[in-house]
Amino acid sequence: MTNYFQKKNNQWSILVIIILSIINILNIVYNTPMVPDQHWAQKIFYVHVPSAWIGFLSYFIVMISGFMYLTSRDNKWDNIGLAASEIGTFFMALVLITGPIWATPIWGQPWVWEPRLVTTLILFLIYIGYFMIRAYGGYIERMKRNAAALGIVAFINVPIIFLSVQFWSPEIQSHPQVEMAEQPSEILSPFIFSLIVFTMLYTVMIRYRVYVINLNNGMNEDV
């Protein structure tokens, strides 16, 4: 198996991502307007929301991979599912950390039962269970099937979980700044740029992670 970093495509994509990420950070720090009352805390928005987008996208990929694995029994789908679940959980953890940091100046306390945050927390807990299935689900081949089934079940419940939390405390509104359509262009443009950079970063991360998993499985085969 060729070393991942020896391929020209991969080298270029990593370089481009590093440059874009640096530009993104500088853009967020220097180019975005300071929102009154929120000041620096508001800039977390440019990391928090893209992280949530990546997290949910990742879990969607886990669901699709799970479905494909169950129907085709091709291990490549399990590898993609595992990579997506790990990266998705990392970004969800980021959401749960940045959310309270951002919430404190807005609501005066780090945690409120805001629907998106609570949905993220519930999904995060479900995926901790997913990793436990991976660790304790029996022999590897059975574990993969169980994990695939859980990945499907977890994501199909996302709309229900979100709706139920939203209606549970209707007095707790989503953070107003999450309503994208109402944002001025000096906030919207850097946000979209950040979203694109995060998505590209995710693509690189998942490709590399799948490569490492394949390498690991290849080393352990035919023992």
Partner: protein
Amino acid sequence: MLSVQNISKAFNRKKILKNISFSQKEGESIVFMGRNGAGKSTLFRIIARLMTYDNGSIIFQGKNLLKVKPIHSSKLFYLGHSPGMYHPFSAIENLNFLLSLRKIYKDQSEILDVLDQFGLMESANEPIGVYSEGMLQRLKIVCAQLMDWDMILIDEPFSNLDKDGLDLVQKHISFWRSQNKTISMILHNKNHAENFCDRILTLESGIIK
């Protein structure tokens, strides 16, 4: 009757079965032998659709078992190591349940008659949780006798049996062979094997020798 082609199975990435292929004609009896851990029980559990496989195909009565609904394997019966029954139920209740799963309707008198042949009449109404290993083994063969099958997979039919039990089971296997039923068994005793089969296949290191 049965055609197994290139069946492979790994546990924790260790290949237990490596491209197993064999065929079994209608009415033929095959005994599978091999050391512990050779993969004999695993092979039977895969054919019985109790366990998944990594690749290959199993054609039973013209249908690929692994791609069709379970209803198409109704004429294939599997008896594993364990009793495969519910311990709170009595022998009669377990048998009635298993028969109804396969939509087979038998008179209670017929069920009791077979139980009597195997010396289980007295404990027929007791929960099988109190049965000894030998009694459970006999009960499994009673179950096989009552079921409607063209092919049976039996994992160690003679284990835990006393002399009377052994005679009974041997008699029934001989009877099934005379009825042109297709039988596959896992045995460890070569004498038994030679008396009750047309062919012996030995599994070693995941392949058939």
